[in-house]
């Protein structure tokens, strides 16, 4: 057995942000289903509590998104480095990562990417998170906020093409976010052990085997 190395991967603000988002988005999905299909799906005893919870969770996610943006974009100034795929990522990184997930993983090989605080995400994660955090979440929040202030934001609603169009955009984006959630949680179990990737999100620390595999982290 190789020696264990502990690295501080997820600073506290990031962890708080992540779990706020996680509970927020799950709440939004669950209440959203009841709001759309009240006669079939009744999870909360009343429609009104589903709506109030949905609006509150939506606000929490929107605020936590803003905090995240503020933290990485302005305080840590590492947003571009962490989230925007490099040319190299696009040319070879994604293919290599795909090869791992869909082929060599089954053969028992190790993940070619290793997370470090400066290089947290593998090229596939970068691309996915870029789409999620810069397109899906802001748009779904924006449409949601508009839907709770339709009278005030009418000009914007009309520009989009009306409430029903806005609603459909919100719904499709939300469905995509929900679909991502399944994939995200599943991929998080692909660490060396089932829960290996969950730990750093809870404690901040990741335990890494300090063997030669580590060299892969910064190829």
């Amino acid at each position: 057995m190789s020696e264990k190395l502990r690295i501080y991967l997820q600073p506290t603000p990031v962890r708080i942000w992540h779990w706020l988002n996680a509970f927020g988005i799950i709440t939004l999905c669950v209440t959203g289903v009841q709001i759309r299909f009240p006669e079939h799906i009744v999870i909360f005893d009343s429609y009104r509590s589903a709506i109030l919870l949905h609006n509150t969770a939506g606000l929490v996610v929107a605020v936590s998104f803003s905090l995240w943006f503020f933290y990485y974009g302005i305080v840590a100034r590492s947003m571009a480095k962490l989230y925007v795929p490099t040319v190299k990522d696009l040319q070879t990184g994604i293919v290599r990562q795909m090869k791992f997930y869909f082929l060599t993983y089954f053969l028992g090989w190790k993940n070619p990417h290793h997370a470090t605080p400066k290089d947290k995400f593998n090229p596939m994660q970068k691309s996915a998170y870029l789409a999620i955090m810069f397109v899906l979440v802001p748009l779904v929040s924006l449409t949601g906020i508009t839907l709770t202030n339709v009278a005030f934001l009418r000009d914007f609603v009309v520009m989009v093409g009306g409430l029903k169009i806005l609603m459909n955009i919100h719904f499709i984006l939300a469905s995509s976010l929900c679909a991502f959630l399944f994939t995200h949680i599943y991929l998080a179990t692909l660490g060396q052990t089932f829960f290996a990737y969950f730990k750093p999100m809870l404690t901040g620390w990741e335990e890494v085997e300090d063997d030669h595999h580590h060299e892969h982290s910064a190829p």
Binding site: I35, R36, F37, P38, E39, S46, Y47, R48, I51, L52, N55, Y101, F102, Y105, F106, L107, G108, W109, K110, T148, V150, A151, F152, R154, V157, V158, G161, G162, L163, K164, I165, L166, M167, N168, F171, I172, A174, S175, S176, C178, A179, F180, L181, F182, T183, I185, Y186, L187, L190, Q192
Partner: protein
């Protein structure tokens, strides 16, 4: 009772009244009464009766004397105070229904209705119906007390006459009213009057603003044209959920407290809609719209959507497909992962 039967009975009743009371006010026609009563110099503000609204009201044919039976030839110089008919003389079914409610102690027929301006429910705007209530129930206070449990309370109250929630009528239809910005600065909206619509129509037929081919039927294409026409940017269509039949059981019903009374009734209930157009006499005319007009995403109106109730079926399937797509990886990859678990155990050793 069917209105026609009511009318027959009332007609008969009036005939009998005329037979039985020949002594009173012979020859005094409504027009004679109105000669004086539309002139504030003669009768003062307190006894003023507006001419046009009366003549266009459902009571025009009833006539002043039927309700003010004891008015004499010498009126107003006889010193008598003319009698006032009790609404129940002619509307006993409504009266009976209302008398059973607790609200009957709080408001009489006349508190809500001006007997000189009454109209059938389909000729009255939702805004005017709420006006009846707001004499006693201050709009801001109602919005505030309802906001305690009703999400988007002001929006609800703007889009729903109080009686849609506070009476037993369950058949709700959507009426589209043409509303306009009160003034450019504050965004508040009010009903566009007939004159304003006329100005918008370039002094043409007001109905042709929406019903372009004037066939007394609003098609989706006509709605789209109205919504897209840049000349109409000062106005918009507001869908209000109106009871198709008015009930007077004014109360707080448990099922309206349950949002899914409206928000789950599904598209079927939303199929019937009308355009309600302001007429010169202040009443409203309903023009039927194409089935499902308010449900249509592109054409109906950009301002109408009810969560739960007006959802689109196609979108449900697209959403389901997307969410199922998210399950492909966990299920597919997960199965392969299970089958190849030995490989990984080997490499760990």
């Amino acid at each position: 009772m069917h209105p026609d039967t009511i009318r027959k009975y009332i007609g008969l009743g009036l005939f009998l009244i005329c037979l039985l009371c020949p002594a009173f006010a012979i020859g005094m026609e409504s027009e004679d009464c109105l000669d004086c009563h539309t002139d504030t110099d003669t009768v003062g503000d307190d006894f003023f009766v507006e001419m046009a609204p009366f003549n266009n009201s459902a009571h025009a044919d009833v006539g002043c004397v039927s309700c003010h039976e004891t008015v004499s030839e010498d009126h107003p110089n006889d010193g008598n105070v003319p009698s006032r008919a009790d609404c129940l003389d002619c509307h006993d079914d409504v009266g009976e229904e209302y008398a059973h409610t607790a609200h009957a102690e709080n408001a009489s027929c006349n508190d809500c209705h001006n007997p000189h301006m009454v109209r059938g429910a389909t000729a009255v705007s939702g805004h005017a119906m709420n006006q009846m209530c707001s004499d006693c129930h201050d709009g801001d206070e109602v919005a505030e007390s309802h906001a305690e449990w009703l999400p988007q309370a002001s929006l609800h109250i703007a889009m729903l006459p109080c009686i849609s929630c506070h009476t037993a009528s369950e058949d709700l239809v959507t009426s589209l009213f043409i509303i306009k910005k009160k003034d450019a600065e504050d965004g508040s909206l009010e009903l566009a009057s007939h004159e304003e619509l006329k100005a918008l129509a370039g002094d043409g037929n007001v109905q042709a603003l929406v019903d372009t081919n004037e066939d007394d039927y609003i098609s989706l294409a006509e709605l789209r044209m109205f919504n897209r026409n840049p000349a109409n940017k000062t106005v918009q269509l507001q869908g209000m959920m109106m009871p198709e039949e008015v009930s007077h059981s004014i109360e707080t019903l448990d099922n309206r407290w349950d949002c899914s009374f409206c928000h789950a009734s599904g598209p079927e209930a939303m199929q019937t809609s009308y355009l309600s157009l302001a007429q010169p006499d202040g009443s409203f005319k309903r023009v039927p719209a194409e089935r499902g007009a308010v449900l249509d995403a592109l054409f109906g109106t950009p301002d109408f959507y009810m969560v739960g109730a007006t959802r689109s079926k196609t979108m449900n399937y697209i959403g389901l497909a997307i969410i199922s797509g998210g399950l492909v990886l966990p299920v597919g990859h997960g199965s392969l992962r299970f089958l190849t678990r030995k490989n990984r155990r080997k490499s760990e050793d």
